[in-house]
């Protein structure tokens, strides 16, 4: 059975402790600690030793998604602290200004493919240039972003084919035309199933739909994600 969990930011924006409590109540063992906003990063990393994460078999940290070149070294410094040393770090390619600084994370660094608003990291060609600069980095496949960029899922298939060996985490949600992460729709489910066979069963899957205001609920989204990543027979990418 696929390990499916949640991003803390999707469950309780800016309140990872509350999100973790919610997950524990639902016996979820996969989690991504979200620090999408800059002001969330330092409190999160500082708190890591005190958080009860023992029930989670997979835990990653999502680095801030928006900062400039001046802030880059500060972000890296916080992520390099000993408290964060055991965790994979998901980062968006458009905030990697100085690749040499990010190389220190080696295979712990997970590069995520981007949505249509971004001018980098959306396609195989665009992501390849990032991996060329960070050859040890792994791949975080955001299936919702890939569908938004190409609803036929052709590019998604090519992303999995090109970077399948680097695949370390999957993000799943419906990404709407305004690039907001919504609960998974039937159309998205059908699209995601087209490439599910190229996602190995043991890869951690992180749900990102915002459900902090009752848009859906945790169990429903896990069920939908499981359905969306079902496939009939395995195939080589």
């Amino acid at each position: 059975m696929r390990p499916i969990g949640f991003s803390t930011g999707a469950l309780a924006r800016g309140d990872f402790r509350r999100a973790l409590r919610l997950l524990q109540n639902h016996h979820v063992h996969t989690v991504e600690l979200s620090a999408l906003r800059m002001d969330e990063l330092e409190p999160l990393v500082t708190s890591l030793p005190d958080l009860d994460l023992q029930n989670f078999t997979f835990t990653s940290i999502h680095a801030p998604s928006r900062f400039d070149l001046q802030a880059e070294s500060g972000v890296i410094q916080i992520l390099s602290s000993p408290q964060a040393a055991d965790y994979p770090i998901v980062v968006h390619p458009d905030v990697i200004f100085t690749p040499a600084l990010w190389r220190r994370f080696g295979g712990r660094l997970l590069i995520e493919n981007m949505d249509k608003r971004k001018s980098v990291g959306r396609t195989v060609a665009e992501l390849q240039t990032v991996f060329d600069l960070l050859p040890d980095a792994k791949f975080c496949f955001d299936i919702g972003h890939a569908r938004q960029v190409d609803p036929t899922m052709t590019e998604a298939a090519f992303l999995l084919r090109a970077f399948g060996e680097r695949l370390a985490e999957v993000h799943i949600s419906e990404v709407n035309t305004a690039s907001r992460h919504d609960p998974i729709s039937l159309n998205a489910t059908s699209a995601f199933q087209r490439v599910a066979k190229w996602i190995p069963q043991d890869i951690p899957v992180i749900l990102e739909p915002l459900i902090d205001k009752g848009q859906s609920d945790l169990d429903t989204e896990i069920r939908r994600a499981r359905q969306a990543l079902q496939f009939e027979r395995p195939a080589a990418a």
């Binding site: 609803p151 036929t152 052709t154 035309t177």
Partner: protein
Amino acid sequence: MREGQSSIERLESRLGADWAAIRKAREDTTSRRQDLDHLFRDRNSPDTSVVVFGSVARQEVTSSSDLDWILLVDGSAVPEHKKQEREIERALAAGKYIEPGRSGVFGKMVGSHGLVHNIGGEDDLNSNTTRRVLLLLESLPVSNREAYDRVRRQIIRRYIEDDRGLLYASGAVRVPRFFLNDLTRYWRTVTVDFVYKQRADDDHKWALRNAKLRMSRKLVFAAGLLHCFFCHLDEEASAARAGLRELDLNPLTAYLEDQLSKPPLEIIAEACLNLQISDVTSRNLFNSYDRFLGILDDKGKRAELAGAHTHEELRNSKAWDEVREVSRPFHESLISLFLREDENLKNLTLEYGVF
């Protein structure tokens, strides 16, 4: 393909030919494209693309080429799209671009929904078919291309996904018949509409329109047919064919997307180079098209064609005589290409192109 050399250049060199008008049209196209990119360089809208059609997309710009365009919208409908449409109109008018024709097919915003969903059926109006087919066969995004790429790929995907024969047939031949039939339907519609416009427009620009029908419109259709047949014949499509056997449609989608991004003349040159096509046929095809582009690039001849519509005017028009001189060998060479020389292409044309 040799590094840096187009198939047209390779063919030209092989035949020892000199296609100056084709070369000039390609150079003028490069310059026109740079101007357009500059004009729209500040556009940044992932939901919309400015798409141009016709000679700019075919790499056949001549001195009086007009500019057919649409604002392609693929996303939520917002009132600002109308503003974008007006800004494009203004920018092109300021750049002294010749406006699109009066058909109403171009020069406006167009949503993606109809293009992707209405393939066939009563909602597939002439304008929708025209935009859809030309979006595949002769279009070019200016500035940001995200919406353009998304929509084109979805249309291609529909032609593949809905073609049960292509996906499930037991035979070895893999030709996208649904796509081919739509291209054929479009071409026949263009020819019928030519006669309709002859009545509706009181023969306005009859000779110029007829010249384009005999040459550039026919070229686009011929290239479209080759796109379909190359799916079966082209060595580079072997992975796509193998993918189909596994019901993996992605390689064929990518192959067609790549092929369709090439100008029609380039596709014809690929056929001349890679299939069993005689030098005589290749030379006649390209010599006549080269002469045709030369006629269109000559402002005097073009004006003469645009003004000639009565029998008397046509009889006295040297430009019209020239068009007839080049269009006949062009037509004959296309027949040789498809039906006389390469056995495989001939068999596919007979099997798929007639009934």
